[in-house]
């Protein structure tokens, strides 16, 4: 309890709580701009962390992170353009309800669901992160190596669509992480005699480029494609009353509970991502809706304004936000790409996520945890203020003008990390590489994980092999290192499942194309 009180006392210092509230409002506004996803919103705010104390900087980031995911529902409902990828499915029933003249009700369900999912995940973070971190403190070199392998395997294993591309992405990240002085001997590697590369590729500009600059390129190409197809955005529906009755709230309780549980379970898995949680919970909500409400008088069809279709994805995506911080804060492994950006925010203030964060910067670690809870409590009134006051002005910002804003904020943010022009080039090249990877359908997540885990993987491997006299069997020794053996067994399982999924998909594809090729003239 003392440590939780420490977190609250750090958070409730006047400047810190104020900055958290600013982060929530800013995240809501930025998240509700179509085309700005959670990652861009976060990357845009990283530069602000340079000039303020770490407590305030991280409170700002927590506010932005929680609110940007929730804010994405606003344009999804109002104009059927999800502000963030997390609001992809909210757009279906949400916009249908808005077009029926119930935009206020749809927005209210979305915000309330986000708050409920967010509070549930904050509690998961509060309980599990410190416990897991305490356990992780007992890890030695052997266990740290196994943990890094498990982290990489979990993300690669979840990409059953193309395991090989997931592996390539992770290897790109791991190779990039070797640039600079060797952690073992101090030998300079891949530095091209440049002093700027001696300590490795600067991490903050790299992240800003991978997310922000790549997103700017995507936005430009989207605009180019839209202009070619002559797509136009239809007029805004009226928001109207934001109330929804107790009867509907009682009806949504099971959906909120199940979606928040799914979001929390998936959020704590490194690399699983928000989309998987959203689709799973949406599917569960659809089954329940069809079983209980479909066809009844006064009920809309699924996809045509069902309240469960808004509540499920919103509760799930907000449940992922804080729970994805569990592996990051406790083990140093990011739960998703946005929480990976959190590493950059911590790095700016000389902090490294993982068990040592709780021992070396306990007040900060606990403040981050309780900040998630408070941010979600602030989110509810803040969202209604934003809806009533600034939403319409936000939609009026031309998408085209955002290109320059995102580029300049990200580039200056990269430059501000050490006031070095070299960082601008790093951000630009990282943006080009990330955009190229997107085009080639090589996922970015494993590369980020490779970048983050690379140094830990190399140093723990080297030290563990020194202890064992070069024997690799030390990692699977069930007597002296049972945790390592168990983690590596779990990692193997992830690989087997991924390879099986990939093989099954390939077989289904070939079976699907066989009749066509059989029937084609020879």
């Amino acid at each position: 309890m003392d440590v939780i009180a420490l977190g609250f006392s750090t958070l409730f210092a006047p400047g810190v709580i104020l900055v958290l509230a600013v982060g929530v409002f800013a995240g809501l506004i930025v998240g509700s701009i179509p085309g700005i996803n959670d990652n861009i919103a976060f990357a845009m705010f990283i530069p602000f962390s340079f000039a303020i104390p770490p407590e305030q900087a991280l409170a700002l980031m927590v506010g932005v992170y929680c609110a940007a995911a929730a804010g994405g529902a606003i344009p999804a409902i109002m104009i059927k353009v999800p502000g963030t990828a997390s609001a992809l499915l909210t757009a279906v029933d949400g916009n249908a309800m808005a077009r029926q003249g119930k935009a206020g009700k749809a927005l209210s369900i979305a915000i309330t669901s986000s708050v409920i999912g967010g509070i549930a995940s904050s509690l998961v973070l509060l309980v599990f992160a410190p416990t897991l971190a305490l356990f992780a403190l007992r890890f030695g070199y052997v266990e740290n190596f196994a943990l890094a392998i498990l982290g990489l395997s979990s993300v690669v294993g979840l990409l059953s669509a193309n395991v090989l591309k997931g592996v390539i992405s992770a290897l790109i990240g791991l190779l990039t992480a070797t640039v600079g002085f060797s952690l073992v001997t101090g030998y300079p590697r891949y530095t091209f005699d440049s002093v700027n590369l001696i300590e490795g590729i600067p991490f903050v500009p790299l992240l800003v480029g991978l997310f922000g600059i790549a997103a700017m390129f995507e936005l430009l190409v989207d605009i180019w494609n839209e202009r070619r197809s002559g797509k136009a955005v239809s007029g805004l529906p009226l928001i109207g009353s934001l109330k929804f009755g107790w009867a509907l709230a009682r009806r949504l309780v099971p959906v909120w509970s199940l979606s928040a549980t799914i979001g929390n379970l998936i959020g704590v898995l490194p690399g699983a991502g928000m989309l998987m949680a959203i689709f799973l919970s949406y599917d569960q909500a659809a089954r329940r809706f069809r079983r209980r409400f479909a066809g009844k008088p006064g009920e809309k069809s699924w996809g045509e304004g069902a309240p469960e279709g808004i509540a499920a994805p919103e509760a799930a995506n907000s449940a992922v936000t804080a729970s994805s911080m569990v592996p990051l804060l406790s083990l140093g492994i990011p739960g998703n790409s946005t929480s990976a950006l959190f590493i950059g925010a911590l790095a700016i203030h000389g902090m490294v996520p993982g068990p040592l964060l709780f021992t070396q910067h306990g007040h900060i670690a606990w403040m981050i945890i309780v900040a998630f809870l408070i941010a979600n409590l602030i989110l509810w009134p803040a969202a209604f203020i934003v809806l009533k006051s600034v939403s319409r002005s936000v939609f009026a910002i031309p998408k085209e003008a955002l290109v320059g804003v995102i580029a300049l904020l990200c580039l200056l943010g990269a430059y501000a990390d050490g006031a070095n022009s070299f960082n601008i080039w790093v951000a630009l090249i990282a943006g080009i590489v990330a955009y190229g990877m997107r085009l080639a359908q090589i996922p970015l997540g494993p590369a980020i994980l490779g970048l983050v885990l690379g140094p830990q993987l190399e140093s723990s491997l080297s030290n563990a092999l020194s202890i064992s006299g070069g024997s690799w069997l030390i990692f699977i020794d069930p007597v002296n290192h049972p945790i390592s053996a168990a983690m590596l067994a779990l990692a193997s399982l992830f690989w087997l499942l991924a390879i099986y999924g990939w093989w099954r998909q390939s077989r289904n594809r070939s079976l699907a194309t066989r009749p066509q090729s059989d029937s084609s003239p020879s």
Partner: protein, 145 residues
């Protein structure tokens, strides 16, 4: 314009992997093992991706959008970064970069573009230089910030 993505990207990444592997052979004994393993695995995985593209239906890489929209934007940012590095100050290169990016983004009308560019540049200057006190690269041109 379209390219078979896996073949070309696999070939490029194989090249990078082989180069990194060769470069790592010049490191000292204890520093070379790990990068050699990673580079070797990258080369093998990428070569596998390129080879698999022959036996599977190849996905085509649509390059028209990236070439017409993203590539010029990358060029504009590179020119801006070069201008900052050469000491042309912050305000003029940033204003020009914004004008170019807004035009590439599809905004038309000289006054509209100029108004947006001035607004964004001034806001960024106020935020980073005045607010966050980030020291800008030195200008070699007298009187040009």
């Amino acid at each position: 314009m379209k390219l078979p993505s896996d073949l070309w990207i696999g070939a490029v990444l194989t090249g990078i992997g082989v180069w990194a592997l060769w470069e790592a052979t010049g490191f000292d004994d204890r520093s070379r093992t790990y990068p050699m393993i990673v580079a070797g695995l990258l080369a093998v995985s990428s070569a596998s991706m390129a080879c698999l593209s022959f036996v599977r239906n190849q996905e085509q890489l649509a390059l028209a959008g990236p070439l017409r929209a993203a590539l010029p934007a990358g060029g504009v940012i590179a020119a801006w970064a070069a201008a900052l590095s050469f000491g042309l100050g912050f305000l003029l290169p940033t204003l020009l970069m914004q004008i170019a990016l807004l035009w590439l983004g599809g905004i038309r009308g000289a006054i509209r573009i100029l108004a947006y560019a001035v607004l964004i540049t001034a806001a960024a200057y106020g935020l980073f230089v005045v607010g966050l006190e980030v020291p800008l690269p030195r200008s070699r041109v007298p009187g040009l910030m």
